[in-house]
Amino acid sequence: MMPDTETLPGDSAVPNVAVDPRLLEILVCPVTKTTLTYDRAANELVSKAAGLAFPIRDGIPIMLPEEARHLDGV
């Protein structure tokens, strides 16, 4: 009934390949291989175990530890 994809920040100018919400659910942390949670407001995939938040830029999840935001002390 509603559009089946969410519009993500930064997507307005670019046609988006839908990131399947089910895929976001099954992705695991590349460091710890533990589950991730999707922070909708920040548009990040959060690994509590690794203390990292992986960004989604232009609809593409960036699952690289060196690109992730460290959660410690913020």
């Binding site: 670019v14 046609p15 988006n16 390949v17 990131v19 399947d20 895929l23 099954i26 992705l27 695991v28 942390c29 590349p30 460091v31 291989k33 991730l36 992986f54 830029r57 232009d58 609809g59 593409i60 999840p61 960036i62 699952m63 690289l64 690109e67």
Partner: protein
């Protein structure tokens, strides 16, 4: 296109220095011209690999090093393809190419040696022109064994160094561009696969002149 490279960039990469950062930097520089420069020479291998994937029964496909998405339009309608690449610049082009392609499930920026997929996520993994670029080919192989289900298939298309024969001229001609992209003209199958896998792998030389080989392994 050589004039776009500085003298430092033209120097061969020492193998030990070929870390993920340098690979990413190389592909960021090359993203704009990659298709024009390498699309042609690699097209046979790419088409052969996708045809091999399409001939396999599995539905969930992982394309490692999806790059600019040159292979994406060629997958059979029944496949669901997840593409990963280390280079955001290359992925941006893949996304433009994949827009509207029903076979493309997702494009994700990942390190192929340490992905974000649970075990047994895919029926098939295919890596085209990737094996000789990653810093640790054996780790790539282990990771693909982990994310592909038991009984699934793992395919590579790559250049593997000729033991002997007439390929030397093609390899020499390719060498300067190969180095710019982190390819190694001297990359051997044994660097990717442990001995038992070398023995069991199905190897098919691809045109032109067998420069690339299609490797298939049962997981």
């Amino acid at each position: 296109m050589t004039e776009a490279l500085t003298p430092a960039e033209r120097k061969p990469h020492p193998r030990a220095a070929l870390d993920a950062d340098s690979v990413r930097a190389a592909y960021a520089r090359w993203a704009g011209v990659y298709d024009a420069v390498f699309g042609g020479v690699s097209a046979w291998g790419r088409r052969a690999a996708v045809a091999a994937v399409n001939a396999l029964p599995g539905r969930q496909v992982l394309e490692v090093g999806v790059g600019t998405g040159l292979a994406l339009p060629h997958y059979a309608a029944g496949k669901r393809v997840t593409g990963i690449d280390l280079s955001g610049e290359m992925l941006a082009r893949a996304r433009a190419r994949a827009t509207g392609a029903a076979t493309v499930e997702a494009l994700l920026e990942m390190d192929a040696e340490a992905t974000s997929f649970p075990d047994n996520s895919f029926d098939i993994a295919v890596a085209m022109f990737v094996a000789s670029v990653v810093p640790h080919p054996r780790r790539l192989m282990e990771e693909l064994r982990r994310v592909v289900r038991p009984g699934g298939d793992i395919l590579f298309v790559n250049h593997f160094a000729a033991e002997k024969g007439p390929r030397w001229w093609a390899e020499r001609a390719m060498a300067p561009a190969s180095r710019a992209l982190g390819w190694h003209p001297d990359f051997r199958l044994e660097a990717l696969l442990p001995p038992e896998d070398v023995a069991s792998a199905d190897l098919r030389p691809m045109p032109p002149v067998g420069l690339f080989t299609l490797v298939r392994l049962r997981n």
